[in-house]
Symmetry: none
Subunit: 254 residues, 2 copies
């Protein structure tokens, strides 16, 4: 039995049952539990399953509702927001994506730094109404309620006409080989347009997104110029550094 074949069968079993147990798999494939554990560890690293004590689970459909995610690990997001906001300089144009982490970036923008912000996210726009120095260009389009942001052809078109110095990108999964990915295909179109016309692309992502893969590709990992995330094991960050991405870990020192 080939190792790769065994792994594939584990994934199939997982998809069928929703959950697998290390000891059961060991007996099923007549190998030691250690081997199974190694398999599971590797598959988890590739983001194909979620490793848990005793076995593994199907990766949960992470797409929670906005209200739910809004106040999830607020400190970590604030730290990421602050670290990202520190990248910008007076007078630059910054495109800010929809999502709770990009929103944290908008909320962290310094009150004294004049910027030009472009966004299709309602919460980002609303947050910047309180900001004294930035000038905001809202992009319209069909409203996507779940994301609280505009999408569709109009939005994509509008981004095509704009060159931003920075693009602050939220995403669902980020993997060194699979690249930056997201769940919704419509949102993916918008994000791709944002990336295409931006100078620097800054991905903001909670550490748990690293190494995971969602269905729709936004860009290969080496298209990112910066990755701002939280405290994470070095082996998850290192592949991005190797690709030339400027990796910034926020909230570690404080």
């Amino acid at each position: 039995m080939l190792t790769a074949e065994r792994k594939r069968m584990i994934l199939n079993l997982l998809k069928a049952e929703g959950q697998v147990q290390a000891d059961k798999l060991a007996r099923r494939f007549k190998v030691s539990e250690d081997t199974i554990r190694r398999d599971l560890r590797q598959l988890a690293k590739e983001g194909l399953l979620e490793r848990v004590h005793g076995g593994a689970l199907l990766r949960p459909p992470v797409c929670g509702l906005y209200a739910k995610r809004e106040h999830q690990s607020p400190d970590a997001k604030r730290a990421i927001g602050a670290a990202t906001a520190a990248l910008f300089q007076r007078g630059q144009t910054v495109a800010i994506d929809a999502g709770t982490t990009p929103l944290a970036v908008a909320e962290a923008l310094s009150n004294t730094l004049p910027l030009s912000v472009v966004t299709h996210s309602l919460p980002v726009g609303l947050a910047l109404c309180e900001h004294p120095a930035v000038e905001v260009l809202m992009l319209g389009g069909t409203l996507f309620k779940q994301a609280r942001a505009c999408a569709g052809a109009e939005t994509v078109d509008a981004y095509r006409r704009i060159h931003a110095d920075f693009c602050v990108l939220g995403l669902a999964g980020l993997h060194p080989e699979a690249g930056a990915t997201t769940f919704d295909p419509e949102e993916a179109l918008v994000k791709r347009a944002m990336i295409q016309n931006a100078g620097a692309v800054v991905a903001v992502a909670a550490p748990e997104k690293l190494g995971t893969i969602a269905p729709h590709l936004l860009a290969p990992a080496d298209r990112l110029t910066h990755l701002v995330t939280g405290p994470a094991p070095e082996e998850q960050l290192e592949p991005f550094r190797t690709l030339g991405v400027n990796v910034i870990v926020a909230g570690a020192g404080n």
Copy 2:
């Protein structure tokens, strides 16, 4: 049964039933109550449920925004909103202006009435994210922070390309002879564009706006097809009726 799987199932049960009890869960999963209590404690720590004596409850939905909105919509505005929302019929396209009174209209839209809404107001768009039936087209443009809405040439241009069955118009002053007026010239441009391409123009205004005049003219009073306001002396309403405006007094009878 894997620990992680059990926790996930607890969350699912909670979502389905709204509430779980420690002893019941212990019997259901054939583990001790201590184990369940530990699970609940950990899940609570992650903010996924609210721990209470005897079990756990669904986390109360984040209602910071909601509370704020509630205050912005006292009874008078809610009544105007409801009366205005009653004008619309299935499948129509409604343009909704920026401002707290038009926002009240958006909030009053029936959950079961499919409409197409066009707006340049961020709070209106955000409010309609919670609405199950309406389809929303956001119009972009330069963000006017004070109004929390888009304005400028782009917004005007976008309204020019759209024909709405209704236009819900907020305003600063409404006078039978001076017409509908507002304070900000930029916003006035947008409002004029809204009016120009709309079938019916519904002005929503608190009674104290009646008879007052602001600097920038939007339209003569007889361009209005409806005026929805609160209880007001008949001599203030009568001139509008004479001009052919359909005057609706909301919140009088209840």
